[in-house]
């Protein structure tokens, strides 16, 4: 009886698959599985990113796809929970028997978990501004990309900024820089780099872990504000932790203008709840903020104008929304690069990886995309999956991000050797032979 049902189901499934592939052959799409989190403690961060992704994909499809090939996507909600994230990935990694081409886990924990899985599935894993930093070494991690920047590069650029505030990097000697970090894989990433920098420039590096989800920071800021009194405090916070940091700093009288958030602590959703306390707070980013760019206007016209917006119109142009656009632009550029080699077809993950390694976002290309001045040019290569990019610092005026600083180039001479040695150690541990055909 049971067997009969199973047989019938299998026959039906085969029929469905056949008819679908029959249809799909007419217009094959590039399928992208999307992991999102719009619930749980980190929902305020996940919501705008999710909206940005979907808006951009809709926009690409509304303007004729990538060289005529449409994008297709499926979302899975995992609530920033690593176990659920892995399950989600397995559930949506393929659609109608067609494997996805790339996945963006949006969580450092899930990124670590998916590195072996995406490799087995021949999929690109793009952790943009999060994840495993040493995966920037393309010779060891052939399918993982960290462009346009990693945490390690980020803190070197922030250190440059701090140095400039002090009148030059040489003046950092004897100064104190504190790191207040989310006590998880994500928050711990920059520690080693800051330790190296503190040796190099002679500043004192103080670290303050904050436990998930980050509500308990009173004593941390008591120590910072009243005891150690560092010259600058860098925050690696996420979700509610960021605003709690700002509020506790204010409550203890530590100047908020001396606090610099990393790019995940730069969301309006995290600074706005801190209210007036957050005026003067600074945060880093590898792209600018706002919706004055042509791409935003096009999205508003073609996606929201057609009533297809994925969320509230006011979110367009927010920090995390724009970050999702960067992600989308890099993806479509990589697809285009791959299509140059493989023809205007629905490429697969392996071909996309090749495309990623040949992304060259020049400033004239950025202009064409309607993003002139939005971010700095980016070039990814086979060996360097991080590419080279720049970072800038914004200031929060209570309602908006204002006063963009100039662009800072990270100290790649510091981070690159660290990345290479760390990747080599990983390769050794896992028995991977680094690709030699890169240079």
């Amino acid at each position: 009886m049971n067997n009969l049902v199973k047989k019938i189901t299998i026959v039906m499934l085969i029929g469905v698959v056949f008819s679908l592939t029959g249809l799909a052959q007419a217009a094959e799409k590039i399928y992208v599985p999307m992991l999102t989190y719009t619930t749980g403690p980190y929902a305020p961060g996940g919501l705008p990113i999710d909206q940005g992704f979907r808006d951009y994909f809709k926009y690409v499809n509304a303007t004729g796809g990538v060289n005529g090939v449409m994008l297709d996507w499926e979302t899975c909600e995992y609530g920033y929970n690593t176990g659920r994230g892995v399950e989600c990935y397995d559930r949506i990694k393929s659609k109608n028997g067609k494997m996805g081409v790339a996945v963006f886990p949006l969580s450092t924990g899930v990124t670590y978990a998916l590195i072996p899985k995406t490799q087995a599935d021949g999929m690109v894993l793009h952790s943009m501004g999060y994840g495993r930093t040493d995966a920037s070494d393309g010779r060891v991690f052939s399918h993982v990309f960290t462009a346009p920047m990693t945490y390690w590069s980020q803190v070197t650029a922030i250190t440059k900024y701090i140095g400039e505030q002090m009148g030059g990097l040489n003046n950092l000697k004897g100064k104190k820089i504190a790191l207040v970090y989310h006590n998880s894989a994500y928050g711990k990433e920059p520690i080693k780099t800051l330790e190296v920098l503190s040796k190099k420039y002679g500043f004192k590096f103080l670290k303050y872990p904050v436990n998930h989800p980050g509500l308990e920071q009173k004593s941390t800021w008591l120590k910072i504000g009243r005891q150690t009194k560092p010259d600058f405090a860098i925050i690696f916070g996420w979700g509610v932790m960021t605003q709690t940091s700002i509020k506790e700093a204010k409550a203890i009288g530590y100047p908020v203008s001396k606090i610099i958030g990393n790019w995940w602590s730069a969301s309006e959703n995290d600074t706005r709840p801190a209210g007036a306390a957050s005026v003067g707070y600074k945060a880093a980013g590898f792209h600018t903020i706002g919706k004055k760019y042509q791409l935003h206007k096009d999205i508003l016209a073609k996606v929201y104008g057609a009533g297809n917006g994925s969320g509230e119109k006011s979110v367009v142009g927010e920090v995390l929304y724009n970050r999702a656009l960067v992600q989308g632009v890099i993806l479509t550029e990589a697809i285009r690069a791959a299509q140059k080699k493989y023809g205007n077809i629905a490429i697969n993950g392996k071909q996309l990886a090749w495309g990623y390694e040949h992304v060259n976002l020049t400033s004239s290309r950025l202009n064409e995309l309607g993003l002139g001045g939005f971010m700095k040019p980016l070039k990814i290569t086979c060996a360097n999956h991080e590419g080279a990019n720049n970072l800038l610092i914004h200031e929060w005026d209570g309602n908006n991000w204002v006063n963009p600083s100039k662009w800072y180039t990270p100290m790649y001479d510091v981070t690159r050797p660290m990345i290479e040695s760390s990747a080599a150690a990983y390769a050794k541990e896992k028995g991977i032979t680094p690709r030699s055909n890169c240079n």
Binding site: E77, G79, V86, D90, R91, T108, P116, S184, A185
Partner: protein, 359 residues
Amino acid sequence: MIYREAGQFKTSYNSDQALLPVAQDRFFVIGLLVVAYLVIPFVANDYWLNSIFLQFFIFALAAIGLNILTGYAGQLSLGTGGFMACGAFSAYKLATSFPDMHIIIVLFIAGLITALVGMLFGIPSLRIKGFYLAVSTLAAQFFLLWLFNRVPWFTNYSSSGVISPPPIKLIGDYYITGPQATNLTQYFFTLTLVVVMALGARNIIRGHIGRSWMAMRDMDIAAEIIGISPLRAKLSAFAVSSFYCGIAGALWAFLYTETVQPLAFEINQSFLILFMIIIGGLGSILGSFFGAAFILVLPIFLNSAPALLGLKLSGSLVTHIEFMVFGVLIVFFLIVEPHGLARLWGIAKEKLRLWPFPY
């Protein structure tokens, strides 16, 4: 009619004390194993093998562990996540320090280490019980996670505090972890492990130790009077329970997520496993399996059901509904059937005994 034990005579003590004295139960379990070993691996796709069955086995193992402590020995624990983390991290340290050690030995020793840690955190149970104990097991939860997060030695000084197990061979060329490991190898391995450990648990519970746990649960003073040492009964319950949870944690880190950071074992994980045993049935090994399956499949079902019905609900709404359904189900089960799915199964068997001639 179908489930009728009339006519099955026990002619020896051995057959009377068999694990499954009723023939139908035996056939059912054997049938289930045949399906699990011979049918599922060939029918199920990767998603089912890796995401559903693997997770199901691991959670069932953890649920058996918690059920031993809470269901059989009556000690409510909210520290399951901490013990799982302990298993995962000790297994990682063992596997990286002794690369030639076989995976089974790694898991076994990791389980023993967790058992020791469990006993340590079980000491307060000698003085307190009930809610006070539940709250104090939270100390284990928070302290252990902090410890693994804090001490870099546990993660072999990884910069981000994430561990990922090295590739380990099971037999010959079959890898059990790492990119070369196939879903089938992992499936058979965990399946066998779960079956063996579930049988082990069932036997421990039938034996002297298990009965001392139940006596302690039902009335501690009476148990003490008939000569059961509370010290031994309670600490052994903590030890055995932690042993199971530790192995489950190690499997979770090694086979399922293939990488783990302490945050993955946070308090929600402990609650999830507690729900499994509440819904599955307190004091029932079978119930642990039911509960694990239910809690695992329910959110996935809720997630995909609206799409199947053609409804377009946002991901967040679905998750919120999932929360509400969880809450309602827990209350529902406690009111309607405090003994969980396992009791429903028992009722079904009672009905089947008479069906289709109820009189």
